[in-house]
């Protein structure tokens, strides 16, 4: 199959007849549901841009398996150039959608599993890599969206998976059969889950002895019997059902997360890529997290570009664009945003070719990238709110703008810089609101904090990778630590001027 069109993608998701629940009810026509549709539009954009010559350099790649042109989201990185282009593609999509476009988790999952399955086979004599290779080619050939599903609900964080009072708090194998395994549990915070053709499950932590049933990785069709989804709420989400675009801020695009439940789901062996190999679970978690921490150096930057642009327009519409402090704050926003991009590019340029043949990011720099992402979008959002002003959260609704009694007053009183129609000023204010504390803030703020691992997870990796002994040795050498004291005493002289 050639690259899918956006329309074909949407239809293919509709055809899955996924079991999705929202506000306590199962949804029928979920691809046209006003709360969900914007998130579907985001992934459709990954198909739309791939078909455009002006974006194909970033949006597509050549498969190392078939030699065919494929969507980069299904690509196994074959060079540091591929890693760099991945980050640039993500920035582009963040710019085009102003939202989380959801397809990255699958890309990061296939790249992590590529090397881990290879290494497992080398050590254990298994055939996981061959199975996985077949699966990746299937994703590429069919141009599918895979949800990389890692995060378990975890229950008591002080206990290991096998020590939990309820065994289903981590997804686990409940039965091993001749033809496959049966799994039960859940994956939480699943980005794009309801817009995916496939689910690619990975363990969420490094497993220890006794946790063998929890060290499990597999793929499954998103509509496999036993899987259902409980759609996650977002701040201001019901504005999308009000049938007015203005108050949504970004009416066309948005992200989504869902709680994904596995109620005794059968997985045939040919789709299993880890089943009890606890010693490789840690590497899989680290590599997926590493790739995803790189991703944030692209996607959040693209959304940041939109927010900075909206803030600059808000300043213009407020008539404050020439104030020196406003200019300086926008420079600061840009500086922070480009620093994130620099980290994304740096960990990509410093990537290495793994023995399995794929390229992996530099782990230290990827973790530094994500650590900055846990901070800088918050400061960028704070500056955006500072410049936009309180009106972005106190403004009357679109209905009031168009109502007979209130409309003329809202139009007249909310005018800013006089060349700009009031409605355009309101549109930009709502966009700033959307990204900083509306539905898109899920992706731009809290996901920046906790997505791809919470801040402390990066600090542990930074500590592990930071080569402290080398730094101490550099200091010892320059300070002369350990050199004989007698020679130092003999050379002591008072400065001539004292």
């Amino acid at each position: 199959m050639a690259l899918r069109t956006p329309e074909d993608f949407v239809q293919s998701i509709a055809d899955l007849d996924l079991e999705i629940y929202l506000f306590g009810e199962r949804l029928d026509d979920y691809v046209n549901h006003p709360v969900i549709k914007p998130s579907l539009n985001c992934i459709a954009m990954t198909y739309e841009l791939a078909a455009k010559p002006e974006y194909e350099e970033l949006m597509t790649a050549t498969s190392h398996l078939t030699g065919k042109r494929i969507n980069r989201f299904t690509h196994i990185h074959q060079s540091t150039d591929d890693l760099v282009k991945k980050v640039k593609m993500q920035r582009l999509l963040g710019q085009k959608t102003g939202s989380c476009f959801q397809r990255c988790v699958g890309m990061d999952a296939i790249n992590a599993l590529w090397s881990v399955t290879w290494e497992t086979d080398q050590a254990r004599g298994t055939d996981y890599h061959e199975r996985f290779r077949t699966y990746v080619q299937f994703l590429q050939d069919e141009d599918l969206v895979a949800d990389g599903a890692m995060t378990d609900v975890k229950g008591d964080r002080g206990k290991s998976p096998s020590q939990q009072a309820d065994p289903d708090l981590y997804l686990h194998i409940v039965e091993r059969r001749d033809d496959g395994i049966v799994v039960r549990g859940a994956k939480a915070h699943q980005t794009g889950a309801c817009n995916s053709h496939e689910i690619l499950v990975m363990p969420t932590v490094a497993m220890r002895e006794g946790d063998e049933d929890y060290a499990v990785s597999f793929s499954t069709p998103a509509n496999a019997p036993g899987i259902f989804y409980v759609y996650g709420r977002q701040s201001c989400d019901t504005r999308k059902v009000e049938e007015n675009e203005l108050d949504v801020g970004n009416a066309r695009f948005g992200g989504h997360e869902a709680l994904m439940v596995f109620d005794d789901v059968f997985v045939p062996w040919e789709r299993v890529y880890m089943a009890g190999e606890i010693e490789f679970s840690g590497a899989l978690v680290e590599r997926f997290a590493g790739f995803h921490r790189q991703s944030y150096g692209g996607c959040k930057v693209g959304v940041g570009d939109v927010l900075i642009g909206a803030t600059a327009l808000a300043a213009e519409y407020n008539g404050a664009a020439r104030a020196s402090h406003v200019k300086d704050k926008i420079i600061e926003m840009t500086h922070l945003n480009e620093t994130l991009f620099s980290c994304g590019i740096a960990c990509s340029a410093e990537g290495v070719r793994m023995p399995a043949g794929n390229y992996q990011i530099d782990m230290l720099l990827a973790n530094v990238c994500k650590q900055n992402v846990t901070r800088f979008p918050y400061e960028i959002a704070r500056l955006a709110e500072d410049i936009a002003g309180g009106l972005m959260v106190t403004m009357p609704s679109a209905q009031d703008l168009f109502a007979e009694k209130t409309g003329p007053w809202v139009e007249k009183l909310l005018a800013g810089q006089c060349d700009t129609p009031t409605i355009d000023r309101m549109r930009i204010m709502r966009l700033v609101e959307n990204i900083t504390l509306g539905t898109a803030a899920v992706g731009y703020r809290t996901e920046s904090m906790h997505g791809a691992g919470s801040p402390q997870a990066q600090r542990i990796m930074i500590a592990r990778q930071s080569n402290m002994e080398h730094k101490k040795e550099l200091a010892r050498e320059l300070a002369g630590v350990g050199k004989p004291v007698d020679a130092l005493k003999a050379r002591l002289r008072k400065p001539a001027s004292v």
């Binding site: 540091t80 290494e119 410093e350 990537g351 290495v352 070719r353 793994m354 023995p355 530099d362 782990m363 080569n467 002994e469 080398h470």
Partner: protein, 89 residues
């Protein structure tokens, strides 16, 4: 035996000490092999590859030998074992 060093900007191992230990073994000195020694896992000496493309190239990248994670103190012995037996470390 040829030793290729990276530039040494941020080494987690003592590259020179490792090279000296290998050179001190006369059995290794005569071998037609290349050992790319990078100070860290970015593996600059081997063109950013964690494993050698051919059997006569061994890649040390920080604590990794051909992609396998070892303690720094184990590297020299693992390389010698690999070159003498051709087996995995």
């Amino acid at each position: 035996m040829r030793i290729v060093f990276c530039g040494g900007c941020n080494p987690v191992i003592d590259r020179v000490a490792l090279a000296d230990e290998l050179r001190a073994d006369p059995a290794l000195a005569a071998l037609d092999v290349e050992i790319d020694i990078s100070g860290c896992s970015r593996s600059c000496a081997a063109g950013q590859q964690l494993a050698g493309a051919t059997p006569d190239v061994l890649v040390v990248a920080g604590r990794h030998l051909d992609g396998r994670l070892l303690e720094p103190s184990e590297l020299a012995a693992a390389i010698k074992r690999r070159l003498s037996t051709g087996k995995e470390t």
